[in-house]
């Protein structure tokens, strides 16, 4: 894995990869007026990944971090056969990728496609190479050198208790917002869709059955249970069509957005207080395998079908007037893409179980950097999925009803007036093809991606007749793992609330107490449930408002993690190479602070929460109703929620600024000390696993 001097053959090979990448990238970036094939995008991305890995990741690992192949990793030093186990790098790569891959990289790029395929693609590729993968790898390295300690612990040890606490609050906020936003994605996908709702509801009894099977009938037989569960899931998916086509059954599974929101909040509460083996674990197993399987299937589909991208490279919405989310290219494109190129959340995973199993320090590039490159490839596939469908269909699915109306005729007229000519027939035909009554205003990425996936997959498996099944398969797969996240995330929030409240009432910290768990879960569900319910009832469409907030929070956590990396590089006396983390830190701080300030204080009501609150508050005081609100009740909800969101945006800015100040203090201290002051654990000593 070390980058030694290159032979002639390997020089030629890398020159070839670079040439191919440059040509493909040129085609993707410079073609105007005619459709670009998705294959060029895939080839360009893969070439960039290989070059970035070979020349940048290995440089960072060998020079900046100074990985030492002779140093014992925690897996050897604390080997217990359970948490700390030296694990083959391919096996660990799979584990790490499954842990970081989630809904984020599927949603963000789809929403970013409103500016055309090019801006999103560029940031997914550049962002992952210089920011996202660097963060994941460096945090993994730091945690490996500290017995696999968590991000919060490392911040406390290296930067002090205050930034540690601040980071903790940041994590709690992200957690609450991501739960609300992801639940909102599910609501938008399932509202008035009996087929999807039936299939997703069925996952609950199926998971319960699987839970009982692995607990009592055939304990621990994961393969059998997964095959059995997957078959039941497939049956539910196929029977869903009958449900949708039978009026009596269909009416039982047709829900409005607010009703679905309440159901999901109730589900989140019940699921998070049940024993884990009954519902959470089996559902997690199913969703993990389905997620990895679907990603592979989609990759194969894109390669075989290699469709043309229908979306132009750039749309007129680069000026910030887009219908899907508000705000200009800088900083909001970067905030919107979030997890596909850099995700703060990964800093929690890279300091979780992976560092306890890594065999050798020289594998951090393969697992940390490589895992994130894979995640970025998922984001590239998501943007391809969103861009292979008719742009008119894309905007019909992602614009709020307040803008495009609620019939195909109105929507087609409005969207055509934006320059994306589409007929009402195209919109209703697409709805019919995927087995839905309407596809309008289903913002949130999942339904759009489902249409894109159905378009691609049906071309090589099953033809048009299968399109409705592929669409609902895609919805089911996304809903399944989002609901797993809702369950697991509610537990994480509960723990953090217990920890926070526990500093005032110590008895509340006891996580084994049933009453504490019941109260903690209720508090946790109330927090994200409130935001979810507000989002569902938001006359602007919740995604329009809330995704930006989530993106800001996520990038804020990444900025915190990268600040830690920078401080530690200085403490290790590696300041010569500190630019590798300083560059992405500065960029993320600029993005989050600008976005937070604009969301807070912009005088344009479409962007600034406080301006919006002021505008609606003034009208409310005069007794007027402003569109898209329909009643005075709507009006006061808009005012309150905008004040709430504005406050959150400002809190994010404060968190970033305080962390950076502590970072600068830490760096100055480190510069004043002649020797390394990093708090590493373990000594150097040769042990197996070097490859």
């Amino acid at each position: 894995m070390n980058a030694g001097p290159m032979g002639v053959g390997s020089k030629l090979m890398w020159a070839g990869v670079a040439g191919l990448g440059a040509v493909s990238f040129g085609i993707v970036a410079l073609t105007r007026g005619e459709a670009v094939n998705a294959a060029w995008l895939v080839v360009a991305a893969v070439c960039i990944y290989f070059i970035a890995y070979r020349f940048y990741a290995l440089f960072i690992v060998n020079r900046a971090l100074g990985a030492d192949p002779t140093r014992q990793t925690p897996a050897w030093r604390r080997n217990d056969g359970l948490d700390y186990v030296p694990t083959h790098r391919y096996v660990l790569f799979g584990h790490h990728f499954a842990a970081i891959a989630g809904a984020g990289p599927l949603v963000g790029p789809v929403l970013a496609a409103q500016m055309g395929y090019l801006p999103g693609t560029l940031w997914i590729l550049v962002g992952v190479v210089v920011a996202g993968a660097v963060q994941d790898m460096t945090i993994l390295f730091l945690s490996t050198r500290r017995d696999g300690r968590s991000l919060g612990d490392m911040i406390r040890a290296e930067m002090g208790p205050v930034p540690g606490t601040i980071a903790g609050i940041g994590v709690l906020l992200i957690c609450i917002i991501i739960l609300a936003v992801l639940a909102l994605v599910v609501v938008n996908a399932l509202k008035a869709s009996p087929w999807g709702t039936f299939a997703v509801f069925c996952t609950i009894p199926i998971a319960l059955l699987m839970g009982v099977y692995t607990r009592f009938i055939r304990p621990g037989r994961v393969l059998e249970m997964s095959i059995f569960g997957a078959m039941l899931l497939l049956a539910a998916l196929l029977y869903g069509r009958t449900v949708a086509e039978t009026p009596e059954l269909a009416s039982m599974f047709t829900f409005s957005g607010p009703a679905l929101a309440l159901i999901i909040i109730g589900y989140g509460y019940v699921a998070s207080v049940l024993p884990v083996w009954l519902l959470l674990a089996p559902r997690d197993y199913l969703s993990t395998f389905l997620k990895v399987g679907t990603v592979v299937l989609l990759a194969i589909g894109i390669i075989i079908v290699h469709p043309d991208l229908q979306m132009p490279a750039l749309t007129k919405f680069v000026d910030g007037t887009g219908p899907v989310w508000a705000g200009g290219l800088f900083p909001f494109l970067f905030i919107t893409i979030a997890c596909g190129s850099v995700s703060g959340w990964h800093s929690l995973i890279a300091s979780g179980t992976t560092p306890k199993m890594i065999e050798n320090e020289n594998q951090v590039a393969f697992i940390g950097y490589g895992g994130m490159l894979m995640e970025s490839f998922v984001a590239i596939m998501a943007i391809i999925g969103a861009c292979v469908i008719h742009p008119g269909v894309y905007f019909a699915m992602n614009s709020p009803a307040a803008l495009i109306g609620s019939t195909a005729d109105q929507a087609a007229q409005v969207i055509s007036s934006w320059g994306f000519v589409v007929t009402p027939d195209v919109l209703s035909q697409m709805a019919q093809d995927v087995g839905e009554k309407s596809i309008l205003s289903r913002a949130g990425g999942a339904p759009t991606l489902a249409v894109g996936m159905a378009t691609i997959l049906s071309q090589f498996l099953g033809g048009k007749a299968m399109m409705a099944i592929w669409y609902h398969f895609a919805i089911l797969f996304e809903a399944l793992f989002i609901l797993t996240t809702v369950d697991a995330g509610t537990r994480v929030c509960r723990f953090m609330i217990q920890d926070l409240v526990g500093s005032a009432i110590p008895g509340f910290r006891e996580t084994k107490s049933w009453s504490n768990n019941l109260i903690g879960s209720a508090l946790s569900c109330a927090l994200w449930g409130y935001l979810l319910y507000a989002g569902v009832n938001d006359p602007f469409g919740g995604i329009y408002t809330m995704w930006t907030l989530f993106g800001t929070a996520n990038q804020m956590l990444a900025a915190i993690a990268l600040t830690l990396c920078t401080v530690v590089l200085y403490k290790m006396k590696k300041q010569r190479y500190a630019w590798v983390t300083i560059v992405p830190t500065v960029w993320l701080v600029l993005c989050t602070v600008t976005a937070g300030l604009e969301k807070g204080f912009s005088s344009n009501p479409a962007i600034g929460f406080l301006a919006q609150a002021g505008k609606f508050g003034k009208a409310l005081a005069d007794g007027n109703v402003l569109a898209p609100a329909k009643t005075l009740g709507d009006m006061s909800r808009v005012v309150f929620n905008n004040y709430l969101d504005g406050t959150l945006a400002i809190v994010f800015v404060a968190v970033v600024v305080v962390t950076v100040v502590y970072g600068v203090i830490g760096i100055r201290k480190a510069l004043g000390t002649p020797t390394s002051t990093a708090h590493e654990v373990g000594a150097i000593g040769l042990v197996g696993g070097a490859r």
């Binding site: 056969g81 968590s150 621990g220 697991a488 995330g489 996580t511």
Partner: protein
């Protein structure tokens, strides 16, 4: 054939670790080598222990969201 078997074993190991269950044989080997004479969990006990551990949230155990 043995190559195929090795490939299958590794794929199985990967799939299991994805859901938080490390290799059982490695665990047994570890106990025998470093803790001779001490109790070794059966596969079922091992599975339940790992399952509970994966979902127990604590200061250094947080599951991902996105």
């Amino acid at each position: 054939m043995s190559k195929l078997a090795a490939w299958y074993a590794r794929a199985r190991q990967t799939a299991r670790l994805m859901i938080g269950v490390p290799d059982y044989d490695t665990y047994v080997q570890h106990r025998k080598t470093f803790h001779p004479g001490e109790a070794i969990m059966t596969y079922e006990e091992f599975f339940f222990e790992r399952q509970a551990a994966r979902y127990t949230v604590s200061k250094d155990r947080m599951k991902g969201c996105c």
